[in-house]
Symmetry: none
Subunit: 264 residues, 2 copies
DNA sequence: TTCCCATCTGTGAGTTGTCTGAGAAGTTGT
DNA sequence: ACAACTTCTCAGACAACTCACAGATGGGAA
């Protein structure tokens, strides 16, 4: 989506207005919510993921091991699967194969431990699947799942890969970010932060919320990384231009289309 | 609801005027009041919170530790939970996980101690959850709870994020305040005070009430901060325009739409 | 009208929240 | 193994905010 010169300033483009604060329509043809099966034995993480995905509009079913996972696949007929390849009972690869046999065309998001050998995984993802390595950021996992679904050509899923706020655009597929048509390079963390902000335009997000979504769930560092990265983003996004990233002292940050007249 | 781009400056949104004094309908589909479970071992605070929430229309159940909290979750089936992560018996994170498993889709408002050096806050909350750190203002906790519910898509809960009194609007999501369409910047305390007034339009609120609701429950200062902040608000809200904030000598303050005819 | 007292508001000190530069530690690519 | 890049901690500077104090203002009862 190129919003060149013309409407750039006075008339914000707003091609695909993000609905309800960025949350997307995850609905099947029959109107029921999309289903996702989460298979992992780390219960705390599963609970966290399940809650997050439900909030995002999914219908979630969880299984703590391979056997239950496969059984759930049969019964629950999910539209997507999140699968840890390291399972307590069965070999994750076996489970993956079985899943594929059972659920045709259903994309799988594979969870791997950090130290896992990447090339084994590489083969897996060839089939349209994707993987994230633990510990991951919730925002990233959710985004990957959405991306999988979008790319797997699931009909009925009207998800756009493009987020647009004012003259700022972010493409979740190509990871390209532009402001006023000019491409901007962001690091991985900066990108994740901006995506979270843009998925919640005009809403104040507290530093704690941002930390929880954008940083890995096991992050134990200082809360002021958020301030730091906001500062980085501003240099790249707002530099010189009318600011889009705003601080609400004591509350958090928010992003919104730059308004010509800023009132005190 | 969705007033994209357009409305920016000149044209105030004025969506759905808030009904009966800003207090919202907290009802389930079957007509019974919404339920909230409060889990904290500080009994004085729990009593205060419980009383406040009951006044707001909730059906409240309290538990002083993790075990009872979980039991209550099973029996009481609350629609929302307020949970201190620092509990005397169980680890708050465990309790949180268990709650999520037991009560799917139920948002949790997490209470954290201010002095707990921000540690282990990360990765705590999922999609629909939120935090408040002690000591908090009751008005804020209540607002957060309402916000959680609204955003977690609970059907039947008809809460708007926008408060409207006359030509004055306050958006709880973006923290934006406008009068006659012009954006007005407020500090955190001013915002909280105005929110309280606007949630109770045309009703006289005593300085004591205001102090109890808007300032942290442990506030020990002079009661005339309220006068001071009313003064600040007037400068920003009423400046020049027909006044909306009125003093009832010996009784308190109230806010109402500025009408040409001023009746006592 | 006068006086008393509630309320209003200017001033300024102390506190808190946020921003950002410098650099250490870790990662990736060649 | 080196260079380039990224992530993150730390700490100082600065700005915004909160609140106490005290004198000014004004309402209303006698």
């Amino acid at each position: 989506m190129f919003t060149e010169g013309l409407e750039g300033e006075f008339m914000p483009p707003i091609p695909t207005p993000v609905p309800g604060g960025g949350r997307t329509e995850l609905l099947r043809p029959d109107g029921s919510p999309l289903r996702v099966l989460v298979v992992d034995d780390e219960t705390a993480l599963v609970d966290l993921l399940a809650m997050t995905l439900r909030y995002e509009g999914w219908e979630v079913r969880a299984a703590a091991n391979g056997v239950n996972g496969l059984r759930a696949a049969k019964e629950f007929r999910p539209d997507a699967v999140v699968l840890n390849i390291r399972l307590p009972d069965l070999d994750g690869l076996e489970v993956l194969s079985a899943m594929r046999r059972e659920l045709r065309d259903v994309p799988v998001l594979v969870l791997t431990a950090k130290d896992a050998v990447e090339d084994r995984i590489a083969g897996l993802t060839a089939g349209g699947d994707d993987y994230v390595s633990k510990p991951f950021a919730l925002e990233e996992a959710v985004a990957r799942l959405r991306g999988l679904l979008r790319r797997s050509g699931m009909a009925a899923v009207r998800t756009e890969s493009m987020l647009v706020v004012g003259d700022l655009t972010l493409d979740e597929d190509s990871h390209e970010v532009t402001r006023q048509g000019r491409s901007i390079h962001l690091t991985a963390t900066e990108f994740e932060l901006l995506r979270y902000l843009m998925r919640n335009p005009r809403r104040v997000l507290s530093k704690a919320q941002i930390l929880d979504r954008v940083w890995s769930y096991d992050f134990g560092g200082q809360a002021n990384v958020v301030e730091l990265y906001i500062s980085y983003l501003r240099k790249k996004i707002d530099a010189g231009r009318p600011p889009m990233i705003h601080t609400r002292r004591g509350a958090g940050y928010l992003i919104k289309p730059a308004e010509p007249a800023e009132a005190a």
